[in-house]
Structures are given as C-alpha cells and as structure tokens.
C-alpha cells in the first residue's frame, strides 16, 4: 500500500486537493482513502464519502493533530488495510508548524495556500524542508506574478525545489500532484516509523491545559 501524509495549515486547501488526487488515482485504477486528523472534529470525512471515497476522522483533542497523527498511525494503517485500499492518505492540520509530521518512508506532501502571507514558507520551514513535494494552492485566485514570487520563496527552502502549483477549484495542476503521489513506493507495514525532522523538546503549561502561569 502507498501512504501519503498531507500536511499544512488550516484552510490551505488540503481537502480540495486530496479530492482531485483521489479522483486521478481512481482513474488510474488505484483505490484510495483518507484518514483525517483534526484538532476538533470538523466532519470533513463526509466530503470524501460523498465523492465515493472511504474516509474516517479522528479528533486530536488537546494534542497537536500533527503529533496525534504519529500516535494513531497504526490505527490508520489497519483501517486502510481492512478496506483493502491501495493508497492511504493521512490528512493533518498542525497547529504551530514548528515541526513536521512526515515519516521517513511515507510520501510527504506539504500544502501551502497561495493566499497566505509571504512569510509563511519560512514560518513552516521544517515541513517545507522535509517534504517530498510542496503544493501551492488556490493559484486561480492570485496573479501569476504573485505565484512566481511565492514559488521562488518555497523553492529557496525546499532542497530539491519540488514545488507544484494546483488549484482545488478548477483542478488545474492536480494531475501532476497525483502523479507524484502515485509514483511513491509501496510500504509493506507501518509501525514504529522514524520522523524526518526533530520535534520540539517539551510542552509549556499552556499546551498541557494548565492555563497561563509564571512559566
């Protein structure tokens, strides 16, 4: 089974992009599904299910969804295996983007909104840097000049310069993203997997739900 981790900020366009990727995959005879992790349950699985793709969700609660994704990885794997899927997409929206949820062996896709601030690529550097591909979305809403400036920013951080542009609204460019995902190698088991980049060393009181304090 192929495994793709799709990460990026809230509202970056991950779900719209994934819908297109799953359609392209289905046209190529590859059955894919989505295991979606959110801070709160946003019910986005219904979007995939309505389009005929198996999907299930998991609420991370008090934990950063990107961290939680790593914890429930085995559950996602078992779910997809149980359905006999060829492609498991794990969609997760991290909170601070200080780290990245990418695994050594799974295909890593970082999604960045074309409407984001120009400082965003630098602000989520660990994710941009460790991804197999970065996708700039919502490109039909911005001018080509802005797209070029944004792409240059991302390329400056992405070591291999693998920056694709795609639009979830029109579907433009999503074929290229799907081709990249489908070219990923198959994985025979997923259990304890090394991460691509280091996590922050600790949590503050606020993260632990103890409110503000004297630190």
């Amino acid at each position: 089974m192929k495994v793709a981790i799709v990460a990026g900020g809230q509202g970056a366009g991950k779900t719209a992009l994934l819908l297109h990727v799953l359609r392209h995959a289905r046209n190529a005879g590859i059955q894919g599904g989505v295991f979606k992790i959110d801070a709160l349950d946003a019910g986005d699985e219904a979007v995939f299910q309505a389009a005929g793709f198996p999907a299930t969700g998991h609420a991370a609660g008090d934990v950063c969804p990107d961290h939680e994704a790593m914890v429930v990885l085995g559950r996602a794997w078992d779910w997809a295996q149980g359905l006999g899927l060829d492609l498991l997409c794990i969609e997760t929206a991290g909170l601070c983007h200080r780290c990245s949820p990418f695994l050594k062996r799974a295909f890593a896709l970082c999604v960045v909104s074309g409407l984001a601030h120009l400082g965003t690529p630098e602000g989520m550097r660990p994710m941009v840097e460790s991804a197999d591909g970065v996708v700039l979305t919502k490109t039909s809403l911005i001018s080509p000049a802005e797209r070029q400036v944004f792409t240059a920013r991302l390329r400056a951080i992405q070591p291999a310069g693998r920056v694709l542009t795609a639009d979830g609204l029109t579907g433009e460019g999503t074929g290229d993203v799907a081709a990249a995902v489908l070219a990923a190698r198959d994985i025979r088991f997923l259990d304890v997997e090394p991460l691509r980049s280091a996590l922050p060393m600790g949590f503050c009181h606020f993260c632990q739900g103890m409110g503000s304090g004297h630190g």
Partner: protein, 248 residues
C-alpha cells in the same frame, strides 16, 4: 529572450466530448492571436491550457508544447505570462517591494529599477500609483496596469495571455501597444472588434472547442482602420464629457 519561440497546440475536445477539427496549430513569436466567442464558449479554458502548457490532463485534453525557451524558465513558470480582467493583488507588500521581489525571483540582475516599472504602469493607469503604496490598496485599474508593466518588464515572458483587456480598467490602446512589442507571441481573449482585428488571426470558440481559425484579411484591416477613427471620436467625446464640455 529567445527569438525562435514556437507554440504547438494539439486539438482536444469540446464540452460535449466531440473532437476539435482545427488540426494541430502552430504559433510563432511575433504573432498576435485573438480568441473570440460567446461567454461560456471556452475562451478562458483555452487560456488556462496555454498557460499551463497543458500535457493533456485538462478537461479539454488539449496538448500544448512550447519550444525555443530554456527549460529552467519554463520550470520556474516564467515562460508564459497571463493577465485577466478581474485579477487583484493579495500580497502584503508595497509596489516597490513587490517589483524588487519579483525581479529577484526571476533571477535577473539589479539593473531593472522598480521606478521604471512604476513609470510604465502609470502610463497605463487612469490615476498614478506611488512606489510606497500597498498592493492591496491599489484600485482594480492600477493593479492591472502594474501587472501589465510587470509582465513585460520583469517577468519578460515570451508568451503573453491577456483576458479581455478592454474590461481591465486601463488604457487598452496603450496597454496593447506595450504588450505586442518585442517579438512576443500574444494571445488576446476579446469581445472587442478593434482588438480582434489587431491580431494576425483569430480562433473562434463554441461549446468549449475551437470551431474556426480565421486569418485577418486585407478587407478586414480596412474595417479596422475605419473602426479606429470611430473609436478615436468616442474617446474624444468621453474626455469632453468628463471635463463637462458640450458634446455637439
């Protein structure tokens, strides 16, 4: 800029899935091509196919192949430039910052001063903009004027795609003269006969497909000359209207 730029368009299918019968079309640097047809006939879709240099995966299944441009330029997205009539800026930058950043993104040296781009843009816009003005505060016309100036002077794309320049809120004549210079290949989606007749040929679209390819004839050029005179009179009257003069 490379001067042997060639763009080959292999036909696809229309909205009903019927194949386009126009055959393979080859366009060369220096040509101006109008794209005409009713609203919803597929003009914008065709521009999108051209912009992406579509490998055949869009709904039209057209294939677009560009040659004569360095692959690095194509990869970086600097081969084909596009402007549409509704485009706005979103970036949180001033005019001068944006131009400098776009110049650096293209990898050209610092010789191109943002002021020269600003001056060109102000030659097209109804009201001048300042270098320290935020992009988001530009009017629609100002934003498009800056995009046109940026497209030619900064992006310097050998292939230009312009969507309904007559509705962009800028001086369409000045903009057109500015865009068609320097041996570029220019595609113009338009409903304006004067702009369409400025082209060497026009593609007529219907139901999402290219229906006909028409070369501009000598007779049509004479029509264009007549239209030009009428258009000049309308422009003159419009100016007088703005100044509060009598229109007799």
């Amino acid at each position: 800029m490379a001067d042997a730029v060639t763009l080959v368009l292999e036909p696809g299918r229309d909205k009903m899935g019927r194949p386009e019968t126009c055959g393979t079309l080859t366009f060369l640097a220096g040509q101006v091509v109008a794209i005409c047809g009713p609203t919803g006939s597929g003009k914008t879709r065709l521009l999108s196919d051209l912009e992406r240099l579509s490998p055949g995966d869009s709904p039209t299944a057209r294939r677009v192949v560009l040659s004569g441009v360095a692959p690095e330029r194509v990869d970086a997205g600097f081969a084909v430039g596009r402007i549409s009539q509704t485009m706005q800026f979103f970036l949180d930058l001033t005019v001068a910052e944006f131009v400098a950043m776009h110049r650096d993104a293209r990898g050209v040296d610092g010789e191109l001063a943002p002021e020269s781009v600003l001056a060109a843009a102000n030659g097209l816009a109804g009201e001048p903009m300042r270098a320290d003005q935020p992009l988001a505060a530009l009017s629609g016309g100002q934003a498009r004027a800056l995009m046109v100036a940026d497209l030619v002077l900064v992006a310097d794309a050998p292939v230009l795609l312009i969507d309904e320049i007559e509705n962009a809120g800028i001086d369409r004549h000045a903009a057109l003269e500015f865009l068609v210079r320097r041996n570029r290949l220019v595609f113009l989606a338009t409903h304006d006969p004067l702009i369409a007749l400025r082209a060497d040929l026009r593609l007529i679209l219907g139901e999402g497909g290219i229906r006909r390819v028409i070369r501009t004839t000598e007779e049509e050029r004479r029509t264009a000359a007549r239209l030009e005179l009428a258009d000049r009179e309308v422009r003159d009257l419009r100016e007088r209207l703005r100044r509060g003069e009598a229109l007799a």
